[in-house]
């Protein structure tokens, strides 16, 4: 079974078809996906900006990052759930879209960046928790995260134009 026929099968399931043909569900899910950007990427931005040394500099990095993390995860959970449903009802179009493929690759890169940060320089955060401007490695992680998410948003928005 090729990936394309798998996508065809996914969007032909009952859920996929009824979502695609519904008047209200699709706009509601899509609208939620867009507005939840504020809770996911919006909150992530605050911790990234702290890592870059641009915001709440007088507060420990761990305070700024750890306290916002659970809320940020709620935001990303909403993004993933609504995103899966959006894919579900238009899987073939998504499969054929270069922007969708790019978006998925960038999502993986963003995840790798986050894991590398947590397992790398953040392990030694005790040494730079109160630094006004965190060390280079942390600043790069913050910049990379913001740039990647801007690119992910761009791909997501652009793929919808080509559908």
């Amino acid at each position: 079974m090729s990936i394309l026929s798998l996508c065809q099968w996914i969007q032909d399931t009952q859920i996929g078809t009824s979502l695609r043909e519904s008047i209200w569900m699709f706009p509601i899910i899509e609208g939620t996906h867009v507005l939840a950007l504020s809770i996911s990427v919006g909150l992530l931005m605050v911790s990234d900006l702290r890592l870059m040394g641009y915001i709440m500099k007088r507060r420990p990095v761990t305070e700024v990052y750890e306290q916002i993390k659970p809320w940020m995860f709620i935001g990303f959970a909403i993004m993933i759930v609504t995103g899966i449903f959006l894919f579900w009802c238009q899987a073939v179009k998504a499969y054929n879209s270069i922007f969708f493929k790019t978006k998925i690759i960038l999502l993986v890169v963003a995840a790798i960046n986050a894991i590398a940060f947590e397992r790398g320089i953040y392990r030694k955060v005790d040494k730079w928790d109160n630094a006004l401007v965190p060390p280079m490695e942390a600043r790069i992680a913050g910049w990379a995260s913001l740039i990647l998410w801007a690119a992910i948003i761009t791909c997501g928005r652009t793929m919808a134009y080509t559908f």
Partner: protein, 159 residues
């Protein structure tokens, strides 16, 4: 009765509006910046509201959190309005007959009015513990701004 139609027609036929309409990439690029600004604007409001509800950053006074977020809030609003005006110019007549657009403008004026007359002053005065009034103000601000976003998204879907 005074009609707004001539104004919308003038916007629609403006040089900038026509230039955006005639370009294949201008509209998507501008809308993308509109979306970036939405993320930053609503994000900063959510963080401040979370602080007011006592859910994050309790060690920082509310006014301090508001101060740290202010430039991001302010500049994202500037980008939001600038990109929004450009998008509007390119399809002003479409917007005129669009109910969601009218609802969005009502929410936008209410949100701007509330933020600059009440909300900004309330948070500037709050210290460690938010007053009930502050929490209510945070909830109103969130509802108004998310209302703007929701109605904005509906422009394309519902008409």
């Amino acid at each position: 009765m005074l009609s707004l139609v001539p104004f919308f027609q003038w916007c629609d036929s403006s040089f900038i509006g026509a230039a955006i309409r005639n370009s294949r990439v201008a509209f998507p690029i501008i809308e993308n910046f509109h979306l970036f600004a939405l993320t930053v604007l609503l994000g900063s409001l959510v963080v401040l509201a979370l602080r007011q509800f006592g859910l994050v950053y309790r060690a920082q006074p509310i006014s301090e959190v508001a101060g740290a977020l202010r430039p991001w809030n302010r500049w994202s609003l500037v980008v939001m309005l600038a990109s929004g005006i450009l998008l509007f110019l390119s399809e002003a007549m479409k917007c005129y007959s669009n109910t969601s657009f009218r609802v969005k403008m009502l929410f936008l004026f209410a949100a701007l009015l509330f933020q600059f007359t009440i909300y900004n002053r309330v948070v500037a005065r709050e210290d460690k513990v938010a007053h009930a009034g502050g929490k209510i103000a945070a909830a109103i601000a969130l509802c108004l701004w998310f209302g703007v976003g929701l109605a904005g998204r509906a422009i394309g879907f519902l008409g």
